[in-house]
């Protein structure tokens, strides 16, 4: 206590007053054991927080976060206000990265598993673990495969790529369910075809005034959710009291559908048809500028308009109205959502939607569509997401016995691949499987060794952001905000250590540790918004500001010279798997806005937070239209068996009024067999219904064109619904009238009609 100076003491009491006031007057309520500090570490004063900028790794979007650190413990994450992606905001998943850090089931050191799948882990010293890995890699030569996730830090991808290159193995596969469902590779290859560069398209939503979203749940789970939600906020309050108009096409109402001014429940798989019909109608009509009509005429392929209403569920009047709205709007924008990318004709379907952007001249314009900004010379490139073809190739190598050592980081293929992939069986052909995941996930269960990486908040790294926003290229920096909780080694350091002993790799990976590598990368960056002349200052500012970006758009994205597209684009409705007679319902799968692809399921905050639309937490549910439920005699909590041509799952029914009667919807996220106490044995993984079929370009597997049947199992399992479970009946009332919104649609229609007259 002697070390407490008066001043220090005053500070402590000042800081503590907030607590004291809340804790009230009862002395016995709160007492603390004071810990005297003779020499407090710099930046650590009791009661005063330190703030560290880093980047979020809960999804690949690369938002900037600021961690509030108290006495060396991270206690709160907030958005980085300077960061061009999330601009100070942070989604639920990002917030809960804290619980990843403090997860009670983390692997606290290197472990070996004598018998795969036994879940009996033997702690080993790191030296031994690294030595074993070294020996295995040394023996394997080029018979090595690396599997990374989309959220794996880009620097790790770079290091692994250098490593595989050096030893002559194929480049790492970077593939997980999140990137698969969001269609990263499909969208990237569409960009490559259309605009010449393989990267994610970027949409300037905030400045668009008429947005047609073809299943893009951009406020729920699409690409860069927080970034697009910020954009959505701007979209709703544009300068001069302008307010954008959003039309959402999706068989099941997602949060974006709920936010939309108009939600159109189209037949699953018919997004491309709708897009094409709109293009055709623009071409045939007389609304919009002459250029638009001209471009539409050039691009819109032949389509039998008569058949469209039947195939899509959108009436001809509605289609005509939509075409008018889109053609007439000043800055219209069309978004190709994730369901398009899970269809066999993904490339066509995406092209059909992007065609609308080309027609209205939105490419490269404010409020339009462009490519993610490329980084200038000298900067690292965004790590590419593998296509499903790459995955299949890797599976082929594994099954062919061509892989002796498999390294898995940030991905969970045992959970995230359709069962048809037979991943766990295939592992029998691999001599040595290493998982670097901090939690024991399904893949780690089948690993020989777990060399846990640090959790994101303890780690170094960077992330080249895609998609970008407003044309600003961004590299998010990642730095530890706390000292590691356990004796866990950064995978980058492990790799560098191992590589030092492997002759082929030693020269390719000369850095002493990953920080040295990162510093070198940062030193090579051109001047950004953060300034700083010498390397050390620039490095410091890179960390301090949360990354590197430019002040203004670089113009590196696809410019105004939009392709005067050559051939007309035609697309048809998606072919569905499963016979309509045997499997009467369409299956609509979607990423849970909270749990994502399942990587968020380990965390109680996300498990316990209600889903926005259903308010269900903690379990998987099956959304069924009330009419369908009535026909099938189903009600809330009835457990049903969903069977597709590829498999079956069981889950409880949620009677969901905003879904097509011929469609049922299931969220991804649950159904883990491992992954910590909060995720394990909870709900079902709808991936079991999905097969290994892939479309023409095999960018992703086909998950959005399934038919299923529903059977009642007879049992009941109540869902944890936060909403009232009481049927509101005829006396339901809204506590607040949303009058103004009611009038919106009519008003828009009136405006359009007036113009026509």
């Amino acid at each position: 206590m002697t070390s407490l100076t008066r001043r220090h003491f005053l500070k402590i009491s000042a800081a503590g007053t907030a607590t004291v006031i809340l804790a009230g007057c009862d002395t016995d309520e709160r007492w603390v054991e004071l810990e005297p500090y003779v020499q407090p570490p710099l930046e650590q004063i009791s009661g005063i927080a330190s703030w560290y900028a880093t980047s979020c790794r809960q999804c690949p979007a690369g938002c900037g976060i600021i961690a509030r650190v108290m006495n060396g413990r991270a206690v709160k994450l907030e958005g980085n206000p300077e960061h061009p992606v999330n601009r100070g905001r942070l989604c639920a998943r990002g917030q809960s990265e804290l619980q990843v850090l403090y997860h009670p089931d983390r692997v606290t050191g290197a472990v070996f598993q004598a018998e795969r799948g036994s879940r009996e882990y033997e702690p080993v010293a790191w030296n031994e673990a690294i030595n074993t890995l070294y020996e295995r890699l040394n023996e394997a030569g080029s018979r090595v495969a690396v599997w990374l996730g989309s959220s794996t830090s880009d620097h790790l991808y770079d290091l692994f790529r250098r490593f595989t290159e050096a030893i002559g193995a194929p480049a790492p596969v970077r593939f997980d369910l999140y990137s698969a469902i969001n269609g990263y590779s499909a969208l990237s290859s569409a960009s490559a075809q259309m605009l010449g560069r393989s990267t994610l398209p970027a949409y300037d939503l905030g400045r668009a005034d008429m947005v047609f979203s073809f299943g893009a749940d951009f406020v729920g789970s699409w690409l860069s959710t927080t970034g697009y939600s910020v954009e959505y906020g701007r979209f709703r309050s544009q300068p001069n009291n302008q307010r954008g108009y959003l039309v959402h096409f999706e068989p099941r109402m997602s949060p974006t559908g709920a936010a939309a001014d108009q939600w159109l429940p189209i037949v699953p798989g018919s997004e491309a048809l709708v897009a094409q019909a709109i293009a055709r109608l623009i071409a045939d009509g007389d609304t919009g500028s002459a250029e638009r009509i001209e471009r539409a005429a050039a691009l819109a392929g032949e389509i039998n308009l008569e058949a469209v209403p039947g195939a899509t569920g959108v009436s001809m009047e509605q289609l005509e109205r939509l075409a008018r709205l889109f053609a007439r709007a000043e800055r219209p924008l069309a978004l190709p959502g994730s369901p398009l990318t899970g269809q066999p004709n993904a490339a066509q379907a995406i092209a059909a939607v992007q065609m609308l952007n080309v027609i209205v001249g939105a490419v490269g314009q404010p409020g339009g569509m462009s490519l993610s900004s490329a980084l200038p010379e000298g900067a690292p490139a965004a790590a590419p997401i593998s296509t499903f073809a790459d995955v299949q190739a890797l599976l082929g190598r594994i099954n062919g016995g061509e892989v002796d050592v498999l390294l898995v980081h940030g991905a969970n293929p045992a959970y995230e691949l359709p069962p048809g992939a037979g991943f766990t069986d295939a592992l029998q052909n691999v001599g040595y499987v290493v998982s670097f995941n901090p939690l024991v996930d399904e893949t780690a269960v089948w690993a020989d060794a777990i060399l846990p990486d640090r959790t994101p908040l303890e780690s170094w790294g960077y992330n080249v952001v895609t998609p970008t926003f407003q044309g600003v290229p961004v590299i998010s920096s990642q730095q530890p905000v706390v000292t590691p909780l356990y004796d866990v080694r950064p995978t980058g350091d492990v790799l560098l250590t191992v590589a030092r002993g492997i002759p082929a790799a030693a020269s390719a990976l000369p850095w002493t540790d990953e920080v040295a590598y990162l510093q070198e990368v940062v030193a090579g960056l051109p001047a950004g918004a953060q300034g700083g002349d010498d390397a050390a200052v620039r490095w410091a500012r890179f960390l301090q500001h949360g990354g590197w970006w430019t002040d203004a758009p670089t113009g590196e994205e696809a410019g105004a010279e939009a392709p005067e597209a050559a051939a007309p684009i035609t697309a048809s409705a998606a072919e569905f798997q499963g016979d309509a007679g045997e499997y009467p319902y369409f299956l609509h799968l979607y990423l849970s806005p909270l749990l994502g692809d399942g990587s968020g399921a380990a965390v109680p905050w996300l498990q316990g937070t209600p889903d926005p639309m259903t308010t269900v937490s903690w379990r998987t549910w099956v959304e069924i239209n009330p009419r369908t439920a009535e026909e099938l005699g189903l009600s809330h909590s009835d457990v049903v068996r969903i069977t597709s041509p590829h498999g079956e799952i069981e889950a409880s029914v949620y009677v969901y009024p905003a879904i097509r009667p011929d469609t049922i919807a299931i969220p991804f996220g649950q159904g883990h067999e491992a992954f910590g106490r909060y995720a394990r044995n909870r709900g079902a993984n709808p991936l079991r219904l999905v097969g290994m079929d892939a479309g023409e370009d095999a960018a992703s597997f086909n998950w959005a064109n399934l038919r299923v049947k529903i059977e009642r199992t007879g049992s009941e399992k109540a869902l944890a619904r936060f909403e009232s479970t009481i049927e509101p009946g005829e006396h339901a009332h809204l506590p607040l009238s949303y009058g103004a919104v009611h009038e919106r649609i009519e008003e828009v229609e009136e405006n359009v009609e007036m113009e026509q007259e």
Binding site: A18, L22, A23, E29, N71, R73, V75, L77, E78, R89, L90, C91, A92, G94, Q95, Q99, L101, Y102, T226, S229, Y232, G233, R236, S237, Q242, R243, Y245, G257, A258, D261, W263, P265, L325, P593, P604, W605, Q607, G608, T609, P610, P612, M613, T615, S617, W618, R627, P657, A658, R677, L719, E723, T725, P735, L736, Y738, G739, A740, R744, N751, V752
Partner: protein, 237 residues
């Protein structure tokens, strides 16, 4: 900072996407425990801020309405006078409904009397599996079993700013410097927080607003939370 603040929240329903970022931010900031599945099924879900989802209309002309509800910090709070131990009281200085956990004996009268149902009772002692407890915000006490709790407009942040000597951080009293956890997180900027007594603040500039409404205004509770109903689109003009 002026005496007698009037902290106010504006919820722009036109922008709310129901994403729940505010909910998790609040859990993190205020040490709100997570109710497990059984508890939620029993109707004991616990979130200081919750997104109520209402359906309007029928398929296919159906609308989902999101309504973020949290303590409305009533000017005439029904919860206050019914508390026998002054655990819920009114702070004139900040214009807030205070809840002093240590005074609470758990009569739950305030919870009954709250028309917004934003008061939550700790049915059990909260559990944080170690080391999840290391995340807990030391500025906020963890409520024990038998105690009522509710949204405080992040009073700890207000207190911290008020009690920070100017020399340390500089006077952080400009509008926007002080944010509740939920407003800070809200990606679509649907939540706006500020001092209505500060004419320069964003909330003052946004109010009055022709879209404004207050929840259950007919009860005369004088809430400090203003909801902005949906806007109108003038595209195509």
């Amino acid at each position: 900072m002026a005496e007698n603040n009037k902290w106010t929240m504006i919820v722009d329903l036109d922008k709310c996407t129901g994403c729940n970022a505010c909910v998790v931010a609040c859990h993190a900031e205020n040490n709100v425990p997570i109710a497990n599945e059984e508890e939620v099924i029993k109707g004991r879900g616990l979130h200081w801020i919750r997104i109520e989802r209402y359906w309007e209309g029928e398929y296919p002309d159906i609308k989902a309405r999101f309504l973020p509800v949290f303590c409305q910090q009533c000017g005439n709070a029904p919860c206050e006078p019914v508390c026998p131990t002054y655990a819920s009281y009114h702070s004139d200085e900040e214009g807030l409904n205070g809840q002093i956990y240590a005074r609470c004996v758990g009569t739950r009268y305030c919870g009954n009397n709250c028309p917004y149902k934003v008061r939550f009772f700790n049915w059990r002692a909260p559990e944080f599996d170690e080391p999840l407890n290391q995340q807990l915000n030391p500025d906020v006490p963890v409520r024990g079993a038998g105690v009522m709790e509710k949204c405080t407009f992040c009073i700890q942040r207000i207190q911290r700013v008020r009690q920070t000597p100017e020399g340390d951080y500089g006077p952080m009293t400009r509008d926007g410097d002080l944010q509740t956890a939920c407003t800070q997180a809200c990606p679509s900027d649907a939540l706006i927080f500020g001092n209505l007594n500060d004419p320069e603040s964003r909330v003052s500039r946004m109010l009055p607003n022709d879209r404004q409404a207050r929840l259950l205004e007919h009860l005369g509770t004088e809430p400090a939370v203003y909801y902005l109903k949906g806007g109108t689109t003038n595209v195509g003009e």
